[in-house]
Symmetry: C2
Subunit: 335 residues, 2 copies
């Protein structure tokens, strides 16, 4: 069956609140640079008060990936839970204004729309503090069978393992997708997230619940509890899934059972804010798969989209990525 | 008396909502590219719904200038009216988190905090649509005598002429400042704004209500109702005020009774969003005056700050401008 959607993203629906911070701020606030940690509402308020001038944009890992796919000209959809409050309306506006199908009903009561307080240090690294709020109330009931069945690839974020009910939604989505002959992709999200759910994530690979896995170097090493990157790659290769490993300025590797395809990072003048680098790499790579490009070309799309996102504050594209890809000599359809 | 504050800004306290848009969107929405127009709440809602994915930051012309001054290391203060709502709290947070003194009490009732819906076209030009909301309720009572008297320069935006009660506040601030031996600066804000209040603005210059005037080329031409830039400069010179004229990529001119000092624009890779270019030029120039730099050096600070702000979405600095000035070889204190 022809798919109506190229990719369906399922993830935490989050608004980002981003401020520049010095390294001293991370120390004073007891934050682990480059990580994502979960915080409660009181902590969110205290941290908000302590942070500097802020930029507010829509965020959420899978949602960022879907926004990137829309900007590249793909047809994506998104499932995630906001509350019907100001932040939730802004999130929904941003998604729908890119013509992304977003069937999830907002919560009318309960906690506020999820918020991620992001401190960006002068090196461009981002340190994230997530108040999950309404996104915790994503349940199996929000997994719309028709939308899942109509999507070539279902893309799930590992962060979904944090809100307990979402895990069940995740597994339901995977089952529907495979029943309809679709592919399922997972991003490991964060090395600490992998630490929390290592056995379950490995189980997802080994039970063929997911077909494609995205990870950065730290997440991959955490998954296999090794400091040896090559050993982790070998272990991943043996899982028999398609692996996509991002390595910041070292580029990326696509891992199949037969081969490793290494591609370089695009050069950038200045890394302003690396929030969303992995998310947008996934946008480009999934775009390539959706458009039947080869794996190397798909990875180049990922690298280009990532290089765009790290040159400004925020994890949503600030230019038309399809035009940007064409301007950089990338094919946007299979020849 | 030594001044406690280098510059006190008085202006509309506004949150910016910024989206990329194609030129066709401006045509469809009947917007005049590069201008600021006032809109009511219904129009704001309709335009919000029609716009693309958004970035939300604090804005407001004089407030942007003050934020730039704080980033440069000056001691500024700000007076402007928000409501005690989410947007107003965000605005106040952003101001105060830069250690800017902000004595104005928020409104507890009445219209929402002011919002500017900004469409940024691919050429980097910004087209602004302002819902004045709570900022209309700035009155003479909000002009805190002690803060005005303690400020070397009081900086007022022409946009204050739009909300009727603010005009009176403006004149009161000027009177207090001059009574304390301080200087008063005015930005003409927008060529259409000049069109609305031309005679009053000329009156401010000719009654010595203001000592320093900032304008871009279009505003200056509108002030003197001429298409001849040189004629407008000559007319301004005869007013006997210090004139600062910004000319986008052509740089800027400082106009005194005796001379014209022309300085070039700093080169930029890409103009992403010119929102705040004039505001940040004023930051740099006022910083120079506050630090007793000569007029040429002050203008270079203005040009550098403007070149920073136009390379990202939004009108607030995204790096420490004092360090940025040092990195670019500018003196930050008089020798």
């Amino acid at each position: 069956m022809t798919a109506q959607f190229d990719v369906l993203g399922i993830g935490n629906a989050i608004v980002d609140v981003i401020a520049r911070a010095e390294d001293d701020f991370l120390v004073a606030q007891n934050l682990v640079k480059g990580s994502m940690q979960l915080i409660d509402e009181d902590r969110a308020q205290a941290l908000f008060a302590a942070m500097g001038p802020m930029t507010h944009t829509s965020g959420g890992s899978a949602a960022n990936t879907i926004a990137g796919l829309a900007s590249l000209g793909a047809k994506p959809a998104f499932i995630g839970k906001v509350k019907n409050d100001d932040a939730g309306k802004r999130f929904a506006h941003d998604i729908r204004s890119q013509s992304i199908v977003f069937p999830t009903q907002p919560a009318e009561e309960g906690p506020a729309t999820a918020m991620c307080l992001i401190a960006v240090t002068p090196d461009g690294e981002r340190t994230m503090n997530t108040y999950l709020g309404a996104s915790q109330h994503l349940t199996s009931a929000d997994i719309d069978r028709a939308t899942v069945e109509a999507s070539s690839i279902v893309y799930l974020e590992g962060y979904l393992w944090d809100p307990p009910a979402a895990k069940e939604a995740f597994v339901k989505a995977s089952r529907i997708a495979h029943g309809a002959g679709r592919q399922v992709a997972l991003t490991l999200s964060d090395s600490f997230c992998v630490g929390r759910f290592r056995e379950e994530f490995l189980g997802l690979l080994r039970t063929q619940t997911v077909d494609i896995v995205f990870a950065n170097e730290a997440e991959l090493k955490s998954l296999y509890e090794t400091s040896d990157f090559d050993a982790a790659v070998t272990a991943l290769r043996e899982e028999g899934v398609l692996g996509v490993i991002t390595r910041s300025e070292k580029g990326a590797q696509v891992i199949t059972r037969e081969e490793t395809i290494a591609i370089p990072a695009y050069p950038v003048d200045e890394v302003v804010d690396c929030t969303g680098a992995g998310d947008l790499f996934a946008s480009g790579f999934l775009f390539g798969l959706a458009k039947d490009l080869d794996l190397r070309a798909a990875a180049h799309h990922g690298a280009l989209a990532a290089s765009h996102i790290i040159q400004h504050i925020g994890a949503r594209p600030q230019k038309n990525l399809r035009q940007h890809a064409i301007d950089n000599g990338l094919a946007v359809e299979a020849e």
